[in-house]
Symmetry: C2
Subunit: 359 residues, 2 copies
């Protein structure tokens, strides 16, 4: 949608998916984990039970590396296709460990070992090789003690900006996650939420990808609501959460609904000290992709209903099939200051470890 606008410079892209080939993790894995992959007929788990949405699966067809490797596996090609032409000042890597370590419910130690190897691989191959790239600490949620150890181990890296907390059957407001939040807060890391689960109905996948993809924001609504009403931000006042790849057009509904419930039912959750919509504005940020096609009027109406133009941050979701271009995805005619916020300044404020002077 939208007409072409001027090339964006100084972009801070809050959702870029680098991808690992499993064999690249081997040098980073201790035994016996390495041996399980090399010698024991290791089969990578399949993430989704669907026919893929596009000709190149979940990826842009043109993002396949020229040597034939899958999209997102090669830094040089990512620089050429994404970072250089779009004038990225910074990009946050959000991974594509497919599946996330959290899906191995029965084998906590292997899940934690894989997350750990992945983080080392990410630092060596991406964060240390392009100054524009920043990272996400991958952890296995089913092993909170291992997750805390991993945050302590790599969270101090100057370019690790957030902990990517996997979704599981326990919602994030549960005290189960307190040690993880405590470790994140200690290292000035934000929490990143990227759906990695079936968001709907009894934890089952719906019949079609189009349904699952439509309802991704439901997984986001569940977590926002649960975090707020379980008092997580009263306990961890510096914690902030980036809601990645869920868009933002559901937020006005959720704010309005939570505020009304808070007015009616706050006696049940006396630890919640603030109107939920205020907490959203203070502790959450939402990445734009996948941006629905909207006119300027429609776009601004949603922003108006959110009551803030400071909690929406642009993301490309490169190299996925529904990639949003920084020069084409936003409706034309938006105010320059607001566009600048979405393209860089909101993310810069959100992640304290990003360069704090515009380059």
């Amino acid at each position: 949608m939208a007409t072409k606008t001027e090339s964006r410079t100084g972009l801070i892209d809050t959702d870029i998916h680098e991808r690992v080939m499993y064999e690249e993790l081997l040098p980073y894995l201790e035994q016996p984990w390495r041996r399980y992959i090399t010698d024991c007929h290791w089969i990578q788990e399949k993430h989704m039970p669907y026919t893929q949405p596009a000709v190149a699966g979940v990826d842009r067809a043109d993002a396949r590396v020229p040597d034939g490797r899958p999209a997102g596996t090669d830094l040089g090609f990512m620089q050429e296709q994404l970072l250089n032409p779009n004038g990225h000042e910074a990009g946050i890597l959000t991974g594509a460990l497919d599946p996330s370590p959290s899906s191995m419910h029965g084998w906590y130690e292997m899940a934690t070992a894989l997350a750990s190897a992945y983080n080392d691989w990410q630092i060596d191959n991406w964060l240390d090789r392009d100054e524009r790239l920043y990272g996400s600490v991958q952890i296995a949620a089913q092993d909170p003690a291992g997750a805390v150890r991993e945050i302590e181990r790599v969270g101090t890296h100057p370019k690790m900006v957030q902990v990517l907390l996997p979704l599981d059957d326990i919602l994030w407001g549960d005290p189960y996650y307190h040690p993880i939040f405590e470790a994140a807060e200690k290292h000035n890391l934000m929490i990143g939420m990227h759906h990695n689960e079936p968001p709907v109905h009894y934890g089952k996948w719906p019949r079609y990808f189009i349904e699952w993809h439509t309802l991704i924001p439901v997984a986001h609504m569940n977590q926002v609501t649960n975090l707020i009403f379980n008092g997580v931000f009263e306990k961890f006042p510096n914690l902030k959460v980036m809601m990645i790849e869920g868009g933002f057009t559901y937020v006005p509904f959720l704010m309005r609904k939570m505020d009304q419930q808070y007015k009616d039912l706050r006696h049940e959750v006396p630890w919640v000290t603030k109107k939920p919509s205020e907490t959203v504005k203070e502790h959450f940020c939402f990445t734009t992709q996948p941006l629905e096609e909207m006119t300027k009027k429609e776009f601004l109406q949603v922003i108006d209903q959110m009551g803030s133009e400071d909690i929406v941050s642009f993301s490309t979701d490169y190299p996925h099939w529904d990639y949003d271009s920084p020069t084409e995805a936003l409706p034309p005619g938006l105010d320059d200051t607001f566009v600048r916020k979405m393209l860089s300044e909101t993310a810069r404020k959100f992640y304290p470890k990003l360069p704090q002077k515009e380059g």
Copy 2:
């Protein structure tokens, strides 16, 4: 919220909860079901695992029957407190069989027997005793053959206007439900959706009532999306669904999201022949309660985003704790024609078995 407006006459109230005392079902139950209740230490299942939201549980404290019986159990008191003072032209009963028959997963026959007894009790004690009251056919979703028999048995009653389809772990777009939709369509019955389940996250209840209550619309979003993308309305073109007690402020988000997904991914669901937002406008209606407090401007903004003022129908949710008054819940200053639609004409069009001439 909202200032008092003039008394509403000719109201069609699309969500009124009558309640049964289990012993009242005994005369309507065959053996052995009756004996299970009278002789076998029958324990009524508990619907929700929470401390109740208000001093009278889920009910208005002043709705308790003066003789001490729970709210919603007495027609005379309902007439005095709800139907007469508010000038109801009609009210749709949506039940409070607590729990719904569908929650007895292991005992299909008993669930169907209870639904059947309930329908007979509903006809004798409510539909046949007040000309203003219309009914919902209760069925047990885990027993589709029994459900069809029940629709055939009581769906021909002139005052049964819809089938109240319980929620279960199978979403409504699944072919599992086709026999039920076929039977409903045959008898000119609409489908009513009233949440009776934990709407979020792996079928588990969240920790607090306030979370569950905030996320009720999620259960509605799941079903709307699933019904549309599974092609139910192409197969049953006369089927319509009333979304009860989920409000409507989530609908703009859902329409926009589904339309975008349809544009991007329709190749996956070629049986879907129409833009989802158009299907919503043609096949769905949304009851207002629980209405968030909104200004006229905010209210109209949401209606504008829905693209229709003809798919929202007023409901009181009597006798629940968060009852909406027809004279107080809507923001003041709305256009009279639009108010008249919400208060009666939209419901009248939606349910063909309601009186079709305004009385």
